[in-house]
Symmetry: C2
DNA sequence: AAGATTAGGAACCAAATGGTACAAAACAAT
DNA sequence: ATTGTTTTGTACCATTTGGTTCCTAATCTT
């Protein structure tokens, strides 16, 4: 019952996620953020609370948009082995070294921002569960605790790869090395 | 032939390394930095160039002080297996979640700061070589390429662990999981 | 058409940022 | 003791920071 907003909430939020993902929280100033979201200060502070609040919303958006898609990929993967499915995780575009927003958040925010940390931890747990699901689907012997261990190992490896990738590390044949690992 | 400086260069540099390691580059402002180094603006800007320059110097200091110590530990480790030696890598103080300065730098600076990135990459390579050295010492069959692969895997795992540890992740029994890995 | 209500945008603001200027202080050489 | 040279610390500065104000524009309801 008034003037309708001219921008789409989710599109703007997606822009915020993108720039935070790429640059991190502190390296992204308001002009950067507003530009990425495609709106001006007035609209921004009207629709969103402040910089920290939208960072947290961007994390949620990442959860819904990116993590969920990855989880679904792992759940529905029809590869011929667990390794083939998990290798998909490691097939990120080499040229676009944004890394992983979860990992970036963990490193930049640490435990200083508890809200961000717990969101990151929760998303990491989702990924681990999905990885474990893949391992379970393809394994004959159902040693659950061992699968959890292995899944955690793969997750740590994934974060390590994302972290190292940000500084322009080489792309590797992860399928081969996952095979030698599992 | 003039007034001597009242602070020790390396001590101050050590303080800088410490605060950057703990907080990152952007999250550390001048007051933080000066406080950690134990000197005032005047002395700082006389002895060091500026914030970015000392960050790079802090990376070098990390290389000399921390990485070298780790490399030496790996080279002289008299554990009864490669796993026992490598497990030392993962035994960082859980309460002190600074992570790894190399990993932190990779994630925060990315390829934006080329100097920082290449220093980080170089240090990572040193670690990988040392890890490979451990694997070689304890392996019977001398498949070099395979050892390089394995070393790289352990290094990625190490960075992953450091990254995830920053957000307050749990400590794990890395010796056990390294055993299942290698 | 009128009024209510919300979005948009520009001007503005206080605080914090990294960095500089400069005078006082402390030493070495003479 | 005087001079020359370097360090130290404070006061200062321009810029950038995230955030607010407030006026205008646009739409819905009636």
């Amino acid at each position: 019952m008034a003037r309708p907003r001219e921008f789409e909430y989710d599109t703007a939020l997606g822009g915020a996620m993108d720039i935070f993902w790429r640059q991190g929280y502190r390296a992204t100033n308001l002009p950067d953020l507003l530009n990425a979201m495609g709106l001006t200060r007035g609209s921004f502070y009207k629709a969103f609370e402040d910089k920290e609040a939208i960072y947290l919303k961007a994390l949620d958006h990442y959860d819904v948009q990116i993590v969920s898609r990855t989880v679904q990929m792992l759940e529905t993967c029809d590869g011929e082995s667990a390794i083939a499915c998990l290798a998909e995780l490691f097939k990120t575009d080499a040229s676009d070294n944004r890394g992983c927003f979860i990992c970036n958040t963990m490193v930049e925010m640490g435990i200083e921002n508890q809200k961000a940390a717990s969101k990151a931890n929760a998303m990491a747990a989702r990924l681990r569960d999905a990885i474990q699901g893949v391992l379970r689907r393809f394994s004959e012997n159902g040693e659950i605790s061992e699968l959890t261990e292995k899944a955690d190992l793969v997750l740590h490896l994934y974060f390590g790869k994302q972290a190292m990738g940000k500084s322009g590390g080489q792309t590797r044949d992860w399928e081969a090395r996952l095979r030698s690992l599992l």
